[in-house]
């Protein structure tokens, strides 16, 4: 099976039922997307497929259609995406394990809704669980990212 991740083509020989998450993590060594629940309850595995936020634990590799972007492809420590820059500025992370998914979900939201209200943020981001409780900082960082993207 072929797939394109962060602009690079890959070919893997696995069970077509294998979730994209485990192809990324164990076959391709791309570990930004995290395993948290395996059943779309936590959002830690969120990636983009053709720009749409998707829980990679729910996409069988045999059903994958479209290019995959993971947190590593969104921005890098040397060239941060606006959402990542806002996450750094607000020091959102505690353990940080959910944050790849939070950032990918937030980035997808801002593509579609550049000026989210508090209610929009709560509606979009509530599928991403944070056990450390960084929600107040996530809210603030989303707003900063929105403002910076608007100014860009």
């Amino acid at each position: 099976m072929k797939l394109n991740v962060n602009g690079a083509d890959h070919e893997v020989d696995v069970d077509p039922n294998m979730p994209l998450l485990w192809v990324l993590r164990d076959e391709l060594g791309i570990t930004g997307p995290k395993y948290g629940c395996g059943i779309a309850q936590c959002g830690a595995c969120t990636v983009h497929i053709d720009g749409q936020a998707v829980r990679s634990c729910q996409v069988a590799i045999g059903d994958l259609q479209g290019d995959v972007t993971t947190i590593e492809g969104l921005g890098t420590p040397d060239a941060l995406h606006a959402v990542q820059a806002a996450w750094v500025e607000h020091q959102v992370a505690q353990c940080g394990y959910c944050q790849s998914g939070q950032i990918m979900q937030a980035a997808a939201m801002l593509e579609l809704n550049p000026e989210p209200t508090d209610a929009d943020i709560d509606a979009v981001m509530s599928g991403n669980l944070c056990r450390c409780g960084t929600y107040p900082r996530i809210r603030a960082a989303v707003k900063t990212a929105a403002a910076n993207l608007k100014g860009a």
């Binding site: 069970d15 993971t70 750094v88 020091q91 959102v92 353990c95 409780g133 960084t134």
Partner: protein, 747 residues
């Protein structure tokens, strides 16, 4: 400065020794066999080294032995060293270091001493000193009990100062300039002419000379880093998906593994059939281990699929199989025989209740899972000569000795590489996953085996937070709380947890009454009694341990009495509180919230709660609205006093996180048993708070307390009672059992 003498008496001296290409301050202690630390302690001026600074050609590394499970303690520990060493955090690497008795945790033992944290009298301090000795014996390099900051506050700054002064001495020896004319700045010794000699270049010289042992710690007013907002060293990596957690680690040649354990935790496996599993793609091997099987595969998902496909015949649960039996066991434990402690017995409770209108209530707190978002994992490689372990753990020394026993190798040959953790909340104070990975690695000798728990295995085999039951009796008089009598029954967390490490804990378990018996209220007739229920399901420390349940039992019942007295919940708590720093946190939330009574108009209300835990007084006010769809938490105000705040940003984040943790579990989380098996298998029935339910939280940190304390746990205990008290204010419904969503809806 008076500190010098104190330091000398407490024998915080640092040695140094050359290691390959550089100098490690105190590092040579690793190489020495563990001596009797008690003798070290008795011989004033010797031993108990603080090996926290290493300098070599690659640069400066600060050793931060307390594990970082997300609470930011690598940065906080580094800041405490860097403050005195005169380096900036962007100049240094941070490394958790190897397991070593030198990294014992003094503050954790202090917390176990049966003295109120508000008691700083001679006997209490002496007992805490004895606990220090005990810890040295145990050599427990444990992260827990919100102790990282109090444990490191002096040790780490002294380590930084000793290293700095030794480097200055090295510069003086090289240049002939007297030490008194040297300054230090950003990782360099500055000569009078402004020339900078980098620490890295001075390392070789510093290795040759005796370390400077007498140092003077700077006054907080001179601090450059501590007390000011800091940028955590891991934020960039955590914002870019580039941080390697334990579950992300990869070792060349490793195989992946999953397990299937008896779902009745601790029960035996009678037989198994692996034929279906072995037929699955990617599955290489099925290996029986204690209580279940491990499946070796080429990919974690294959391994998990394989584990699910193994058919097993399980033995019974080694504890009562039904949840109701657990509650019955607690209910039957309020007896003289089961009494564990009664360290609070002021006035004459029985006389005060005699003839009074007695208010009675029973409170319950359920079992809970830790459920950090990163499931537990470990990579273990066993060869004839050595073992390597890569895992996120709070107990590296136990891991080392347990694996040494399992493999028959000396502990020196067991190398524990502590990995970053995606949360813990106490989960990683257990090391079952390492033992299981070691069993598999022994069977796969030479091959690194990475064992990853599925979320379901993690939830079912999480060592739960204790269940607790509180029975309160009380009376009011003249509009005041007159008598307060609380009995608390729970199994002993300490016995369960240390028992798995082969250790006994003699005497009463202070956790049974933690967060209750030591509350600083001058109620004239005031009694708190701990009852030790039989050991039931295996339990473990959960963020704030005993206080996580007892804060709710104690403050919830206190609120009932205050309302019965017709007093104002805030005013009466402040009136009753005799401990100055505690009273000030109450006064702070009173002002922050504009408290003018518990009523806030129709369908609205506010509640206040207070818990002193881990020496930290925390007061919280919760405001709620009773909407047509259920309770909405509008706003939370928190004030906490840790003596000194090392990093205000991290403090703010941890307080908010602690409140959200406390509220979320109080609203919708419990672990229950049916047929000996945990009913809750994943986050669909164990959510905690999500963003839409997360209130605005306003935080104030106070610095009136005399000792520095940690903030990881103390914000948790008052959150649940503050919410219950607010719901009572808004609805008149008194919630006495968690989770609250069994009794009332939440928006």
């Amino acid at each position: 400065m008076s500190r010098v003498g104190k330091i000398a008496r407490r024998t915080f001296l640092v040695g140094s020794a050359a290691i390959a290409g550089g100098v490690a301050f105190g590092y040579y202690m690793y190489k020495r066999p563990a001596k009797n630390p008690l003798l070290d302690d008795l011989a004033a001026g010797e031993a108990a080294l603080t090996p926290y600074v290493m300098i070599n050609a690659e640069g400066i590394t600060l050793i931060t032995p307390r594990a970082d499970s997300g609470q930011g303690v690598y940065s906080v520990q580094a800041a405490m060293i860097a403050e005195e060493l005169d380096v900036d955090l962007d100049q240094v690497k941070v490394d958790p270091g190897p397991p070593s008795p030198a990294y014992y945790n003094t503050a954790l033992a202090e917390e176990a001493a049966p003295f109120r944290p508000t008691n700083e009298g001679f006997t209490a301090e002496s007992a805490r000193g004895m606990m220090d000795v005990l810890m040295k014996f145990l050599g427990m390099q444990v992260t827990g009990g919100s102790t990282t900051v109090p444990d490191g506050y002096e040790k780490l700054r002294i380590a930084g100062a000793v290293a700095r002064e030794t480097l200055k001495a090295a510069a003086a020896a090289e240049t002939g300039v007297p030490v008194s004319q040297l300054k230090t700045e950003r990782g360099a010794v500055i000569l009078p002419d402004g020339t900078a000699r980098n620490y890295v270049d001075l390392a070789a010289k510093a290795a040759e000379i005796d370390p400077v042992e007498k140092v003077v710690l700077r006054d907080p007013s001179e601090w450059r880093l501590m007390g000011k907002p800091m940028m955590r060293h891991d934020i960039l990596a955590k914002s870019t998906g580039t941080l390697t957690y334990g579950i992300d680690a990869k070792i060349d040649g490793m195989v992946h593994a999953a397990i299937k354990l008896n779902p009745r935790q601790g029960g035996a496996m009678i037989s198994y059939d692996d034929s279906a599993a072995l037929a699955l793609p990617g599955v290489q091997k099925v290996i029986p281990i204690k209580g279940g099987v491990g499946v070796i595969a080429s990919n974690t998902w294959y391994a998990i699929q394989g584990a699910e496909a193994v058919a097993c015949d399980w033995g019974p649960a080694p504890f009562p199989p039904e949840q109701a039996q657990h509650w019955e066991a607690l209910a039957s434990s309020f007896t003289a025989e089961a009494q564990d402690s009664q360290q609070r017995n002021d006035g004459d409770v029985e006389a005060a209740l005699e003839g009074a209108q007695v208010i009675e209530a029973e409170y319950r707190a359920p079992y809970l899972a830790h459920a950090p978002l990163e499931p537990i994992s470990a990579i273990v490689q066993v060869t004839d000569e050595r073992v390597d372990i890569w895992t996120g753990t709070q107990i590296p020394r136990f891991v080392q000795s347990n694996v040494a026993k399992m493999t028959g190798l000396d502990a020196d040959n067991v190398h524990v590489h502590v990995m970053m953790m995606g949360g813990s909340f106490g989960h990683r104070l257990e090391d079952e996953v390492v033992k299981q990975a070691t069993e598999l690695a022994i069977a796969m000798k030479g091959t690194p085996v990475k064992l990853t728990y599925s979320r379901e295995e993690d939830m079912i085999h999480d060592f739960a937070r204790q269940i607790a039951m509180g029975r309160g009796r009380g009376a009011v008089k003249d509009g005041k709380v007159h008598a307060f009598d609380l009995g608390i029954a729970m199994p002993s967390v300490v016995v369960s947890q240390l028992g798995r490490q082969g250790l006994n804990m003699p005497g009463p378990d202070t956790q049974i009454v933690a967060g209750a018996w030591e509350q600083p209220f001058a109620i004239p007739n005031y009694r708190v009694t701990g009852y030790r229920a039989p050991q039931l399901a295996p339990i473990s420390s959960w963020r704030s341990v005993g206080a996580s349940s007892n804060g709710f039992l104690h403050d919830g019942f206190l609120d009932e009495l205050i309302h019965a007295a017709g007093a104002d919940p805030m005013v009466e708590r402040i009136r009753l509180c005799w401990h100055e720093p505690s009273r000030k946190v109450l006064q702070a939330v009173k002002e922050m919230s504009g408290w003018d009574g518990f009523e806030m108009g129709e369908n609205r209300g506010r509640g206040v709660a207070f818990t002193l835990s881990f020496g930290v007084p925390v007061a919280e006010v919760v405001e709620v609205t009773n909407t047509d769809r259920g309770i909405k938490i509008d706003k939370v105000y928190v004030a906490a006093d840790v003596g000194k705040i090392v990093d205000p940003i991290n403090f703010d984040n941890l307080v908010k996180g602690g409140v959200i943790w406390g509220l979320g579990h109080a609203i919708n989380c419990e672990i229950t048993y049916t047929d000996g098996i945990v009913d809750q298998t994943n986050f669909h029935v164990y959510e905690g708070l999500r963003m839409y339910q997360s209130p605005q939280i306003e935080v104030q940190g106070l610095e009136n307390a005399s000792k520095i304390r940690g903030i990881g746990e103390p914000p948790v205990p008052p959150a649940a009672p503050a919410l219950a008290n607010a719901i009572f204010a808004a609805t008149g419904q008194r919630l006495r059992e968690m989770p609250f969503n069994k009794f009332i809806d939440f928006v």
